[in-house]
């Protein structure tokens, strides 16, 4: 975790299994860019820290009633409550987020992060009012047309679903690269610059 005073509180959540991947390079460049712009940055690499995405039977039962007691999750919840700019960096697999990131949503974006008095009868729990900007940086192996036909499930889930749990004024960014599998170095470099300029204008 790297921090610097002044500026926004940025939480960068990254999920890619390979450390020398383009996705990880994107994460590094985003973190550097945000730090250079004078923000406070907290970077979470779900694969590197061995996050457990699967919700166990016991946790699910406790989720309905009391806040989770798992200490490793408390840290994530604190990060989520601390930030006002959330940046998600992941590869799009099966038109959605990797299971690892979905597991982070399933376990962190629940009762104890969203409300102090959870109630199973509340449909949409209270908001994460601190999150004022939600940015997604993602890479697709396939093209834009195919993804359009596939319905952009991940985009909908985050920019509509999770957005509805953030501040009412929450701004969103969708910065996506298509045809990563057949891309050239020049295209990737250009995309990296585009990400930097969008996130740190």
């Amino acid at each position: 975790m790297t921090q610097r005073h002044l500026g926004n509180h940025c939480l960068v959540v990254h999920a890619h299994p390979v450390s020398e991947s383009f996705n990880t390079a994107l994460r590094n460049s985003v973190v550097e860019g945000l730090l250079a712009a004078g923000n406070q940055v907290c970077s979470v690499d779900l694969y590197a820290e061995g996050f457990e995405p699967v919700l166990s039977d016991q946790e699910w039962t406790s989720q309905l009633g009391l806040p989770s007691t798992r200490p490793d999750l408390t840290k994530h919840v604190e990060h989520l409550r601390w930030c006002n700019h959330l940046v998600l960096i992941y590869p799009t697999w099966w038109s959605s987020t990797p299971a690892m990131l979905k597991g982070w949503f399933d376990q962190i974006w629940v009762n104890d992060a969203l409300s102090t008095h959870p109630s199973a009868t509340v449909n949409i729990p209270s908001r994460l009012d601190n999150v004022e900007r939600l940015s997604v940086v993602t890479t697709h192996g396939s093209g834009l047309i195919r993804n359009y036909l596939q319905g952009f499930g991940g985009k909908r889930m985050i920019l509509r679903g999770l957005r509805s749990l953030c501040s009412r004024q929450c701004r969103t960014d969708w910065i996506a690269m298509y045809h990563l599998d057949t891309s050239t170095l020049r295209q990737r470099t250009r995309f990296m610059k585009r990400v930097q300029s969008r996130l740190t204008p």
Binding site: P17, V18, S19, Y47, P53, V54, L55, W93, W94, S95, S96, T97, P98, A99, M100, K102, G103, F105, D106, W109, V110, A120, T121, N123, I124, S142, R146, L149, Q150, G151, F152, G153, G154, K155, R156, M157, R160, G161, L162, S164, D181, T182
Partner: protein
């Protein structure tokens, strides 16, 4: 998907885990594929998404053409996809907030199965407000929809 699996993804042997191999074997000759899960945070649970990420890899669900990189579907024997799910939100909330699970099966996986395959979407919304009668009615609906296609 682990690092090892990701590295093997584009190799000749994308399946490295025996558990995944077993799942892939099950998938080899099915006609009806049914997904049953609760909708959490506007999509399928991580464990179900993990099944997509890990089992539906090249050589199991599709082949990538070596030179053009075009996707060649391998699940043409699947003629019916069924999603059965429960959700805390109302139907209009699911609709407005994206319903990622529905798109994942109904559109994305749909590309790889039989061209005339159907996708049946069965969702019990407002599950926590559901009384016994509503749940029973949903169960009957599921039974009817699933058996009527055989």
């Amino acid at each position: 998907m682990s690092e090892k699996e990701h590295r093997a993804y584009h190799s000749d042997q994308p399946v490295v885990d025996p558990m995944v191999a077993q799942q892939a074997e099950l998938l080899a000759n099915v006609e009806i594929l049914i997904f049953i899960y609760p909708t959490w945070l506007f999509g399928m649970p991580a464990i179900m998404k993990g099944w997509f990420d890990r089992v539906l890899v090249p050589s199991v669900a599709f082949e990538l053409h070596p030179s053009t990189g075009k996707i060649e579907p391998q699940l043409r024997h699947v003629r019916h996809l069924i999603s059965i799910t429960t959700s805390k939100s109302a139907w209009w909330q699911n609709w407005a907030f994206g319903n990622a699970g529905r798109w994942c099966v109904g559109r994305t996986l749909r590309f790889l199965v039989h061209p005339r395959a159907r996708h049946t979407w069965l969702c019990l919304d407002r599950i926590d407000k559901g009384n016994e009668n509503r749940c029973r009615a949903f169960l009957e609906k599921v039974e009817r929809k699933v058996t009527s296609r055989k």
